[in-house]
Symmetry: D2
Subunit: 405 residues, 4 copies
């Protein structure tokens, strides 16, 4: 049973993203690194093939005792130390002569950072998939309502007529840009970490670069020009791209929540069993997806800020700041994917759009400001908004067909 995060954090997430960052999954990723390292060092003649085989076997054997590792890590100050020790003990039990080769020439940060890269790669795939679903659902929605007249609202006040398709196209634009940004930031950040004690791979002699190349190949990760132990910019820039996504999702959530108010009543999340109910008021249908999106947009800015605040890591490896970054990193992705999945599910299930109510709200507003109830003007404004939205949707398609830079 995979779980991670605090209780209420978990209720805003989902099983997929929880599994991705589950304790066991991170440990598995750490062991993948150790296995790849052993294989690479054997291939470069730095350890016997038999030693590498023994290490790989131990990495892929019975699950490690995570609670023991966590407890020891609290004293040691780094998760990798007890994990490496447990690995070495297992290797020693099977092939004593292989034990000294475990983790050779590497350092705690190599295995931890690379493991975080590996699980983050999975998280980005989840985000990519659900972003695709949300984009598809919203694109359909925008197309269906290109000219559905709707009241535009500025500074929380009724303004002039737009169309619902125009509103939805407005939600879509940042999502498409976020997708491009995430792909690019992901590509830049998902790199092997392998620098040894101080980032020079000195313990591997001349074989350092070759070993790194092999480990990178095995794990499917590019090898950067140098270790990024204390140079976190690409990593943090990825975190910022995720936080920007949360902001874009939060805007959708906020608009949905405003449209779903009883007095507005223009849009509702689809009715589903057990969804959005209230323990005190059975009539209620709470906008749960909007809630999850807003909750993510409320947390993500500060999660990104922690990553940014942790950037000035001293010399070759930071004290306290790197560790803070590691602690908060999964929470950011859990919040983001939780929001994305919730909105994608809600929109794929079909938002209920009440075009008649939208029209009523326009007419009520026009009467309130003493403006004549001119149907032609309303439709003209909606058509104009629809045309603008259509142009945007077409621009999106062109942009989507462009290869990722």
């Amino acid at each position: 049973m995979a779980m991670t995060g605090t209780l209420f954090e978990r209720t805003l997430a989902n099983a997929d993203i929880e599994s991705t960052f589950a304790d066991a999954q991170i440990v598995v990723a750490m062991l993948e690194f150790e296995a790849a390292l052993a294989g690479a060092e054997a291939a470069e003649g730095l350890m016997p093939q038999s030693a590498a085989a023994a290490i790989v076997a131990a990495c892929r054997g019975a699950p490690f005792d995570i609670e023991w590792i966590v407890n020891e890590a609290r004293r040691a100050g780094a998760l990798a130390i007890p994990l490496v020790q447990q690995l070495r003990d297992r290797v020693a039990a099977a092939s004593p002569e292989a034990a000294p080769f475990v983790h050779r020439g590497s350092t705690s940060q190599d295995v931890i950072d690379t493991a975080m890269v590996l699980v983050t790669r999975e998280a980005l795939l989840l985000i990519e998939a659900d972003l695709g679903r949300l984009v598809e659902a919203l694109t359909g929605l925008a197309r269906r309502h290109l000219e559905t007249a709707m009241l535009g609202r500025t500074l929380m006040q009724s303004a002039e007529v737009v169309s619902f398709g125009h509103e939805v196209a407005g939600w879509l634009a940042p999502l498409l840009r976020c997708r491009a940004r995430l792909r690019q930031a992901g590509e830049a950040a998902l790199q092997l970490q392998l620098g040894g004690a101080v980032g020079t791979l000195a313990a591997l002699g001349d074989k350092g670069p070759a070993v790194a190349r092999r480990v990178g190949e095995k794990l499917g990760l590019p090898v950067p020009a140098g270790a990024w132990h204390a140079q976190r910019d690409a990593w943090v820039a990825l975190g910022c791209a995720v936080a920007v996504l949360c902001g874009a999702l939060g805007k959708i959530g906020r608009d949905l929540a405003l449209l779903a108010q009883g007095e507005v009543g223009e849009v509702a999340e689809a009715r589903q069993a057990g969804r959005g109910t209230s323990s005190a008021m059975p009539h209620k249908r709470n906008p749960v997806a909007a809630m999850v999106a807003i909750a993510a947009a409320t947390r993500a800015p500060q999660q990104a800020a922690t990553l940014l605040a942790a950037m000035p890591q001293a010399h070759q490896r930071g004290l306290g700041d790197w560790q803070a970054e590691l602690a908060v990193w999964p929470s950011l992705f859990i919040a983001a994917h939780g929001a994305l999945r919730a909105l994608a599910d809600a929109c794929a299930a079909g938002l209920e759009v009440d075009a008649a109510r939208m029209r009523d709200n326009i007419e009520t507003h026009l009467r309130a400001i003493g403006s004549g109830d001119d149907a032609g003007a309303i439709e003209a404004a909606a058509r104009r908004a629809g045309a603008a939205a259509k142009a945007q949707l077409e621009a999106f398609e062109t942009q989507n067909r462009k290869p990722v830079p």
Copy 2:
């Protein structure tokens, strides 16, 4: 096995604070609330005693299925809904006639907020205890080194002579103020939440206040003048007091880390098996407690900021902001207590203070700036610093004897 938080968050914490905010523990607290509510309503004639007894029995029976609750909560949008449903099913199985009385007149936020208050009360006791240990250890340290000459440093540059006792008294002062602040903020924040659907306890008719009084008594919580569903100031102010504590601990951590640098070498955390080792460099003794303290001080500002950002909760119950607050609340306390425990342990185990090295560093500095090596002047400065520190320690004692306001 209690656990909460993400993997690296957990390595910066400890089993005690993890248990306090563990999923199971929060659920237990929620059930304590439901049991107390049933008891109170029965006492006020709002349900039969037998119904209350059945509810209380179900609350205290076999552990609830937390994973089912979490999964359902993801759809429902509130953890209390599936929990109440599971409770109602259990009650119905044993005493069908009691089932309708479960959670009567209450709302999700009542049970969730009150449960958070109950577990937070435990967390504050942990903080109080370890704060006491740290204060005691530092007080002893300050007394032993009142006149141990040490170089003062400003803007990261060597400045003039102080004493190590003066430095330590400087660490102590905020801790004592934090203790007073936490006690007061805790007292203000640890209040019953019971308002029903919209904060008026309307469903309980005239019995609302009496029921609240009884629930409060049972749980040992004061009853506020009104529900604080969307008025989070006292709660967030407590969170801020915890964040201020993290800042004070982070300052100790940073100073310790600076003093423990190889080139300074004035203080070290005590040598203990498995503590502060390195996976790549066996000679290292990393300042683990300082690391944990800095990691907390790096995260806490943003955790507090999330609480503050979530304050503008709409009308009678917020959408997304309240939920964000709940998600981040435990992480703040876990970070804070993790740091506090780590420093308390390190200081209780005895910091290694190298007075000779302190003296060397002073003399080297004086030579570097061309100032004569005047032993008398050094000692006079240290004595003066010691006298100031002594006055501070005495002021602390007086202050400590004052009753909490």
Copy 3:
């Protein structure tokens, strides 16, 4: 012409709070400190009375050249250095023999921190005054609408009937608690800073404490047990109390904005010339006070986070963190007072409350959920809410009459 802050920051503020933190005002406060220090040192025999008189005269003479000071400070790294130099030059021009006594025994941080305390004291008076106005206006509003039936809303959905007085009492409660918190936090934070180079006042020999006492008396500031150069907890706790106030104001702003939506139409800010107009839509009446309050609540969490993040200041004086704290401190107060003044003005000018619309919205909602239109039930619910609000208002009064601890 006093001004401070960036352009759009200024449009969210007002002339009073801008003046308080204006460059010239902070410089005046720094000179007040230098004058008080000279007077105290002369009284303790550390300088001739004539030297003190010359220094005091120079401090109170022609305005200093602030732009020169700022430019020099950029090289020197501290504002106090060129200010003290300019002061010393002026003193030297009039009384050469007095020049060496300028700033004697003190350090940059003494004069800067104390000046910030002095201007912050003024800012807190402004906050106190406008908080009083807002509390008074809201108390009247709550009393007038104790039983005005209004739809309660939870999770942004129509819920059950409360009263507008109950809503307003909900806004009041945190304001009263904020007032008490600010008074207490202010008292704890508004203390003299005087520690000399490394916090021991060593350069004043045995006269340090006596000088401090005299400076404190002159400036009306208590003298703390020790310098708080790098111990910022009381100061930051005050900042947090201000941020909590912003959160409470933001909640009022958000509720007002929601109530002022065209489709809700229950409350509006009073109509005033030039207020809340739109450059594109002349019919609009934008909720400007709500806007300013939300803008403050959006910034304050991060401003407080910066103060918290800057707490771990190394040894006797921090490098970069103290300076970051100074840079952001006024912005927090400017945001807070801007919001407070805007809401106080708007509420004092009289919110327009549309009780008929509130009733309509209730009835529309009841019809929508298929609940009968039972006037008696609505009134009963409003009466119950009114009674709860009345009890709260009475509790506030009792609490208000209690002396500040």
Copy 4:
């Protein structure tokens, strides 16, 4: 005299970046927008050429009364309203018939956002220039010290030998990536804002797109597919790129500060008159550039967080969140450029590198851990680090020659 920001914020900045975001400069940029709009509308036949000429003349005439505008904006809730009024009054005085055409079809947010884009374009040029200077200075430094042996430090403890060139190459890598990221984020964010009341340019009829194209051309800004009134992702992503730069600069600052400690003494900022002095301790040479960089890295995470937090702007124009974004935007750039300029100046002036002290510190460390003083091993490690650094520098050059995507 241009100035902006709070007093201590200003001491961390410089005249160039202050001028860029000065009140007057933003007003000038707003008037540039109004002039371009008038010109474009005349070209499209939406107003007489003579009206456009009158508007352009008024925009370029005598400076506007900024304090009046700020004061009015406080009531109106938007800076553009009094500015447009002042402009209209001036136009009316000269050419009454032209006055109705002022600001035609546009909205406050169009002029404000576009003005912010224009001044931000200037700010990015400043950043680009100083980033270039810093990169050049550090590249030279790295090349000169490729094999200068230096102690690597991890978790604030002495670790193994690297070279100073390797350390500096580590500082360079993020700067080069930041430059690429800023260029790309700038290109994406620096776009015209022109949407009219609700983003559809409805008031311009069919001429909307053509007018936008002309305004964009005039101002040198691309025209996006749609107005980005409430879609701030590209803008906030630029802010995040600036914050990441601050983190990278903060890391340089922190390392410099650690290396400049008296006990380490390996690097110092160049000695310059009035630089880094102390008001209490004349011998001090404080690392001022490091201070400014750390102060920026302490503020920027929260400034970026505010931008992110302000993203969920309701419907067609946000209330309070957009305004918060505007208020904090210049502060982020002022902090970033302040830090960049300070480090570029310090590095261009020449850091003092003490290679002998570096060697001493290594040898002292090796003795302390009981490792033999093996000169050959030290040099071999430094050579290996130098080779790695050289490879990095070459990779940077290749990357630099690549065209910006």
